[in-house]
Symmetry: D4
Subunit: 217 residues, 8 copies
């Protein structure tokens, strides 16, 4: 029978390593060495969709999980993925977007107009006041909003952008997926009409008339 | 006794409204009319920390949850919050950063140097290839990485940035919080030495020598 | 305190009434006075789809549940519904068919041909050897098989047939529903392209070339 | 450690195969390659009686389950069994009838008379308006109703009819069973007085005076 | 807030009263003031059959439960019932016998013969060596064994014997019941052929040829 | 994969054997081939005390359980044990009496007097009216009641009586036990003062003055 | 609907108060304002014996619980009780000793002798090296060990000592209890032979010959 | 199959040994041969902190658990540890103190003054009236109270005191631990500023101005 002293020594060391794992850089990765990019929508249950457990208060934690409006590539997504892949031991990127996405529900030009009506001047904004060095070309606001024409196209384009980005190591595995809100299950992004037909994946299905400013197409 | 026909009619209508709620704009908000900004770290359990349920496959869904490296303000965070607050009925912003954050674990200048060693040229990068209109001033790369000196300062600065941003409506409630990884509980951000003392909140505690490029201070 | 004798007397009487409830005709109905017509497919969970409990070993039992290939009207379905509605106290009919139905997966004429290849002669069969009085016109075999072109059309036609049938009392409530196998939820039958688009509801989607023999159209 | 990409690829393929299994004909059978014929009565719990799980929303599904008034052979039962045995990979038929059956509770001739009293003319009915090619000889109505004299005899006769029917392949296993409502357990059908004595299995026990029109005897 | 002292004082007093309740005679009765007479057979679950809890290690305890071979009246049953009804506060008697009873499975005369074959001399036995004052008339042995012809008759006779016995107070409620082993439920004893038919209640059904020595008939 | 037919055949046969096990005599014993003699008191939990399950509605059933006032030997206990040991395959006898027994709580002579005061004439009673051949010598009534002086003595005497009785086969294992109501556990009967001291085992502890009529001493 | 900000503010304040409750002196008491003195033996389950929950990691915590060998009064017990009653809001003292206590299992003089045999010199020991000001008179060692003659006497004497001690406020409720290891329940301490008889409460019952050095008598 | 008699014999012997284990001295140790010294605070959950089960009503019981104000060494702690280590088979000592301890919350001199204000005369007290042989030097009262300057120092000093005490055998394993109330986890005591910084471990953090009377430093 080991002494209780031995048991307690081992237990306290394990917690310390978990709590401070970021100090160890690539030697303190999350459990699955995984970075997830997902839409921020409340109808996209990331853990259930992927069969993982993103975070837990003690001990678990399968992934770093980045979420934004759309689950699209942005400079912030690149920044976050760059950090985890280069400095925190991550080896795989999984991207999850979803059908019925709010990013399909309006034309970005109409949203820009609506903001102007509220008194906002999109051409004279500092997007991130903590980083004025980051500048958006005048006239780029509507495109910046990131509305989509087609979620499958956007998902595939997002995968491609990560695969080719100079800040992402070449040996990182990248895959993209679409969560179907209507069917509560996951599928690969596709342009095949049959596979997409069960779901709302284009802005046209939301009654949006014109094409979005050209970010993904 | 109502007929089963009546029961089934009501049930199917409720699901349809939930599945397509983004079409209704502000009339189809998430359950708590809430937008959360959190760090992507696996040691930050968002649901447990805030006592909410961010997402569920059917019916629930308390918040839109944005997560990035640090849980900091970025143009992407502003974009996502702008969308939900102006167009999807959200009325409250809650920001959660955490102690032991990887963003405290190195100096951004060292990270930039490490990437250069790997052959990356930070001065000639398109951060987001889908949005080349977004440009970073030369020399701004290290600052862009967003490493922190002090998580409490960063959290308070992040709250302030959202409160004052022209794209965020003035009547949105904004608050910021720090999840203590060491104690597994939430507290308000603070500069009081006593309240902070239980946790690692500065880059100095990670052995980082110099001050970060000045994004938050 | 009542005596145990009183309790036992009441309990044994209740079981007796349940066990022999068919003797009481309309005074011994099932719990919801309900008759369900459903497809026999293993991907159609009747209890879950309708939110009822069809049968239990003691005491429960919400419905008489008729199931056949397709969940379609047949002389047997009329016979069974006629019995429960006229003689066993049933007041509501609920019909459930489902997408991805095997009845869409082939053309009845091909099935007939396949049976002939196996040596069956459909024109000289007694369909039900216990009831030779029931005769099918020569050439009617393929139509008899009951394959569908469109499950929504079939479902609506099935509802209509029950509503108008002389053996079904006019005050019985009749409704029809489609279980979406792909989405695991119920919807009303419809011809609207949008509402049907998420699911496979026509034989065309199964690669069936020609129209079925005209039973439902 | 396999990548999450591999896991997700496998998982989505499995669901697709399940959801569309009827397309594969005999290669997409239900889990036990089983077809069940059962009475529609709410006192007959099919899953519990047979120790199987007929249907589930995802993945399970032991049997195709046909249910009608009595659990007897009809042209619809032959049609449904023919389809599953010849075209969907089914290899076993299990028939379950039950004691205390409503089909024993009246004489079919009295039921016919009662319908006539309500204004129905059984001799001039199209039983199935979607299939007018199916005709019942005049005077056959009472026999068509399918009331039984004896549930064990009916069950054994039903088994025999399936075994000998030209539309059912000869290598399909067929067995028949009686669920005793009074004892909540299953037994084989039998004519032995002792084995039957515990249950109500004849119309005489329901007070029915005359023999039914001769369908099963 | 009451002190813990008060709580502990009350709790210890309650246990003491329970543990020593027989000292209080009629003021320390069991919970339902009930005496049960039941057969000792392992297929008769007394608690479940009656919906009570006979005994528990602390606090509960609905009944005094007498069990013997058959659940029949004997001098010992009278003795035990006399004690609880006159001296321990019992006010109700419930008798439970059961179908398929071993007491129906042989003729007592054959059992006597079998014992003689083993060398036992029934005519020269002291039945209870602690009470030689209790004597059985010579020739009474087979009758003493207590085998039954008919469990329902025996049960009704047993009820009647308790109702009329001078040692049982007249205001005690007495009822008798039969547990059907075959159906796992309780019914009143009866001579009606229909109600009895589901179960084995006579020695004839066990193949016993002759009538038992006349104790119950 | 076995057919469902095979499974159902096996299952129904097993139930039949259980339900009718008394027909098989020694070949249909209870599960532990055990006969228990226990007091009828509600403070004696037989299953828990012995770690067995006396009876269950289907399948289980460890013992035949005889219970009377005191758990003492009587002619009825001998009769019941004789039947199970000689004719139903039982090979072990376990006797359980208990402390705090009501049989210690009064002197039998006082009980007799109390009954006389109520108008009962013990000298002119037929103890068991179904068996008038069983006669009690005049003056034997108080002894017949079976009150104890000492439960441990009684338990040991009861064991001895069964071991020596001509109706009990010599190879049956017999043991006796005392359930301590005060401590909720089992012990062997004993005369050692120390082992008995924790419990009330004599009539003296109940305030009974004189020795009982001499049945056990 | 309150904002999440309000909810989080309240929640964090509650935890802070709990974690730092000792700072508030009498305004931060434990939940029942209770101090327990108990023996350190593993057969004395304090929570279960008293029906309280002594400690929990967050939020609960009914008592300050002092445990030593015997659960007796010592200067340390007085010190601890003095602190909680005068400075931390405690208003009740509950003392729990137990039968079968090791403090009854030997004579203190024999223990002293055994230690001397091991080379210990009890007359020249500093009992507590951190408090050499605390001195034991020579010859007092055996008495200091605190062995008991009688646990009930000791318990009552312990209660009395606390009631009269100048460091314990007069309005504190004090009660004492004995946990019976043999019966697994609580009782008041007593000298009545009957109430004590079920348990081992004196050193004589452990075979100890002489009286202990006179601490409690 | 063993007889039930054998099973019961073994079971009763096991309980007897457990209940009386203190009689066997070193041969009847607790389950882990462990003695725990812990603070009496309700915020220190001993079982959870150490991953053991101190006590249970039957059978379990990992440790003898001594608790006092502070979890510090006292003559009582030495007495209790001496008994279990020398006479009851204990081989390991584990000491648990905790942060946020009330023993840090005031200066002992102020507590002494407060008691004097209430009319207590600390110089003329018999600390333990049952042991007047134990005397405290005049002026030692404040030091006796045992308030701490630093819980880690105190814990390490406590370990050292036990390791060196002549009454504790040299081969006993001794270790000390600090439960962090703020983080709800255990750590080793330490003087390293970083490891201690997360918690309140000194009286200075409680606002106490002067050093305590010198017991631990």
């Amino acid at each position: 029978m080991a002494t209780l002293k031995d048991e307690l020594t081992q237990r306290t060391e394990q917690f310390d390593h978990w709590a401070t794992r970021r100090r160890y850089g690539p030697d303190g990765p999350n459990n699955r060495r995984l970075w997830v990019l997902a839409c921020m929508d409340e109808r996209l249950p990331v853990d259930e969709a992927l069969g993982i457990r993103v975070d837990t208060p003690v001990g678990g934690g399968d992934a770093h999980c980045f979420r934004n409006a759309g689950g699209i590539v942005t400079e912030d997504a690149i920044r976050s993925a760059m950090l985890t892949c280069n400095f925190f031991g991550t080896r795989e990127i999984v991207i999850v977007q979803h059908t019925q996405c709010g990013m399909l529900s309006a034309n970005a030009k109409d949203l820009e107009a609506a903001l102007r009506d509220k008194g906002v001047d999109p051409d004279n904004l500092t997007l991130d006041p903590t980083l004025p060095e980051l500048k958006l070309d005048k006239g780029g606001f509507a495109k910046w909003i990131g509305m989509m024409d087609d979620v499958d196209v956007t998902c595939m384009k997002t995968v491609e952008t990560f695969r080719n980005h100079p800040l992402i190591p070449k040996d990182v595995t990248v895959s993209g997926w679409v969560w179907e809100v209507e069917t509560r299950r996951l599928r690969a992004p596709t342009q095949e009409a049959e596979a997409r037909a069960r779901t709302d994946v284009t802005s046209g299905q939301f009654g949006v008339k014109d094409k979005q400013p050209g970010r993904w197409s």
